[in-house]
């Protein structure tokens, strides 16, 4: 059906007014041949004759004109938007430009909304991703904080228990020392009273020392500073030592003491002897301490690379509720009447874990207690006797057999007086100094046969002083006598190292050995 001419004419007028066609005929070299319509609306009011139209119509650059084609929505530099039609005709081509600004504006508005929405979604996804990351970070941080909080609570609990223990356990021997010292100073005290006071003071001081040692051991384990020193040693000798040490203590309380050692127990085992001894002393000491009737039994077996040491007693036993508490620092289960730091089992447990083993406890109230330590311990194939350090007998080997001088550097007057007393008695000449810098000068001036050096003293400090002396040519022994804990590197500055309180007999023996 053909449209009526009136309609065709109407549509033609509408199309022409809306699209404002501009038509240009060009040859194969892009030169204008003819044109129709007004190109002013698209910046082509006048076409330069015989010139390349691509100068005025750069959008034709690269466009082949030998094929019919239509390119929609070309936005010109001038701002107008055209639909371009290329219509080849023999060797020429019609370039028809139609105004598409109205359609372009409508589509652009729609496209703008769509793109903005997509951008918003993209940002939203990114934000959700970041939110997830933040939540994950928060959860991790919270978990870390919880861990630190629990650790802080544990430390705080330990501190509270420590203070509670200190207030009782430390005060008691301290009070005893102070009171008996006062008593000994009282006018009219006879020698028997003085002797008894001294014995009590000495006993209380030893007790205090053991408390301090326990607290320091616990702190070292807490800080991860304890290192195992493994060597081959005779397990039978260690168990015999334990029996020799504990049997008299048990006998004093009217308790029996028995030791059973597996006949297949190897002669030599490879482990940290000092720490194993410490574990056994703690377990046996506790068993003897808390048992009032019956006895204590020590059993040791070795099977498939595991050493099992069991300490059983017929004491009051430990309730299920208390069994966990006794392994916590400064706790003593239900036995509140007994003395001690409440660290024995804590240290034992930590040492056993450090050695790769486990501790088990089997007890019921009124039925005694059995503590077993399981340690991975290999039997040593080495059949040679372990190295045993032989020290000279103190009584003979403490007296100087020639004229010797010793310089003591310590800022504690009482300590200097005490050491002076012992060294004088052993026949040594003494030079004293309370300052390590001054001590260096005195050593270099008087060249003593040995230097006894505290580490935490005024001046450059004992370790630096020892190093300076070595650098300045002093070659004789320098012995550390200090309450400080020294690193292995710091110890290298010294010929020998003593931790206060040092046994005087041993100190004198070492001094003689180093100077003779």
């Amino acid at each position: 059906m053909r449209l009526p001419d009136t309609v065709v004419s109407y549509l033609q007028d509408e199309f022409l007014s809306e699209t404002r066609p501009f038509c240009l005929l060009i040859d194969r070299k892009y030169r204008p041949v003819d044109s129709w319509g007004d190109g002013g609306w698209c910046g082509l009011a006048s076409i330069v004759p015989a010139a390349d139209v691509r100068e005025q119509m750069p959008f034709l650059v690269g466009i082949p004109i030998d094929a019919k084609q239509r390119l929609e929505f070309l936005e010109m530099p001038a701002g107008c938007v055209v639909n371009m039609h290329l219509l080849p005709d023999n060797d020429q081509c019609y370039v028809i430009l139609l105004d598409a600004s109205a359609d372009h504006a409508a589509i652009q508005a729609r496209q703008q909304s769509v793109n903005e929405l997509r951008l918003m979604q993209s940002r939203q996804h990114r934000l959700i991703g970041r939110q997830r990351e933040l939540i994950s970070d928060l959860v991790e941080a919270k978990s870390e904080l919880d861990h630190h909080r629990r650790e802080a609570e544990r430390i705080s609990e330990n501190k509270s228990r420590f203070i509670a223990m200190m207030s009782h356990e430390f005060r008691t021997p301290l009070a005893s020392i102070i009171n008996y010292a006062e008593l000994a100073r009282e006018a009219g005290s006879d020698s028997n009273h003085i002797q008894k006071s001294i014995e009590t003071i000495s006993r209380s001081a030893r007790h205090l020392t053991s408390l301090v040692e326990a607290v320091l051991d616990d702190a070292s384990l807490d800080a991860g500073e304890v290192e195992l020193l493994e060597c081959d040693f005779e397990i039978h000798a260690l168990l015999s030592d334990m029996a020799a040490m504990m049997a008299p203590m048990a006998a004093e309380k009217g308790l029996s003491f028995a030791t059973f050692v597996d006949p297949d127990m190897p002669k030599l085992i490879h482990a940290d002897e000092v720490r194993l001894r410490q574990i056994l002393i703690n377990l046996l000491g506790n068993a003897v301490k808390f048992t009032h009737e019956g006895g204590v039994k020590l059993t040791a077996t070795h099977n498939q690379g595991r050493l099992v040491v069991t300490v059983s007693d017929s004491g009051p036993g430990i309730s299920i509720e208390d069994q966990e508490r006794v392994f916590r620092a400064f706790e003593r289960g239900g036995n509140r009447g007994e003395t001690g730091a409440g660290l024995g089992l804590t240290i034992t447990l930590r040492l056993v874990e450090l050695m790769g083993g486990e501790v088990s406890l089997d007890s019921m109230p009124g039925e005694g207690c059995t503590v077993s330590v399981h340690l991975p311990v290999v039997a040593s194939d080495d059949t040679t006797s372990p190295t045993v350090q032989v020290l000279p007998t103190p009584s003979d080997d403490t007296i100087a057999s020639k004229a010797l001088s010793i310089l003591i550097c310590d800022d504690d007057e009482d300590m200097i007086a005490l050491i002076e007393h012992y060294l004088h008695r052993s026949g040594y000449g003494l030079i004293t100094s309370a300052n390590s810098s001054e001590a260096i000068e005195k050593v270099l001036k008087y060249d003593p046969d040995l230097v006894l050096m505290d580490c935490n003293v005024p001046g450059v400090g004992g370790v630096v002083a020892a190093n300076v002396l070595r650098e300045r040519g002093y070659t004789r022994p320098i012995v550390a006598l200090t309450a400080s804990k020294l690193s292995e590197k710091q110890k290298l500055a010294f010929t020998h190292f003593f931790r206060k309180p040092a046994p005087m007999q041993e100190l004198l023996t070492v001094i003689k050995r180093l100077t003779h």
């Binding site: 691509r54 690269g62 239509r70 929609e72 929505f73 070309l74 703008q112």
Partner: protein, 174 residues
């Protein structure tokens, strides 16, 4: 100097900053406002290469953003002497779009001089393209730049480089 006129098409996903880098290059201006391009926007700018004796007029076709081209877009690209592929460094998906467009165009028109622009480098806090990701994509193009239409960083260099590559290509063809 010898005049040379070349058509260069700028392609990439929507809102990666194609129009902005062209505006920065042609008029040295930048607008924060986003205006989506419909169809194609045509601009021109001449770069002189005195050492080569060439005055190179670039006819720049800013093609509407898309991650995949159809017949309409391919009609715009016909006769292009070079391509500038633009991605947005804050939207990793636009790098995938560039890879896809590069594959489509190369399949359709063969190897044509091109450069890669990973744009919006000024948005440091939102940047999500790692160096290794950038390097991996960059290896597919003769040259690649991290650009900022906002600050102008490396925009001129990228256009100058595509102009040089087109000259080299034209000379080889001649």
């Amino acid at each position: 100097m010898i005049p040379l006129t070349s058509k260069v098409c700028v392609v990439g996903d929507f809102a990666v900053g194609k129009t902005s880098v062209i505006e920065r290059f042609v008029t040295n201006q930048f607008s924060e406002k986003y205006l989506s391009t419909v169809g194609v926007k045509i601009d021109t700018k001449e770069i002189d290469f005195p050492e080569r004796g060439v005055a190179h007029k670039l006819v720049i076709w800013d093609v509407a953003g898309s991650d995949k081209f159809g017949a309409t877009e391919f009609a715009y690209l016909r006769g292009a002497s070079g391509y500038m592929y633009v991605a947005d460094g804050t939207r990793p998906a636009t790098l995938i779009a560039v890879e896809q467009l590069h594959r489509q165009i190369t399949d359709k028109f063969g190897p044509v001089p091109s450069v890669l622009l990973v744009n919006k480098r000024d948005l440091v806090a939102d940047w999500e393209v790692s160096d290794s990701r950038f390097d991996k994509l960059a290896s597919k193009f003769p040259r690649a730049y991290r650009t900022s239409a906002k600050t102008g960083d490396d925009v001129d260099r990228a256009f100058t480089r595509i102009a040089e590559l087109v000259i080299d290509d034209e000379l080889r063809g001649a």
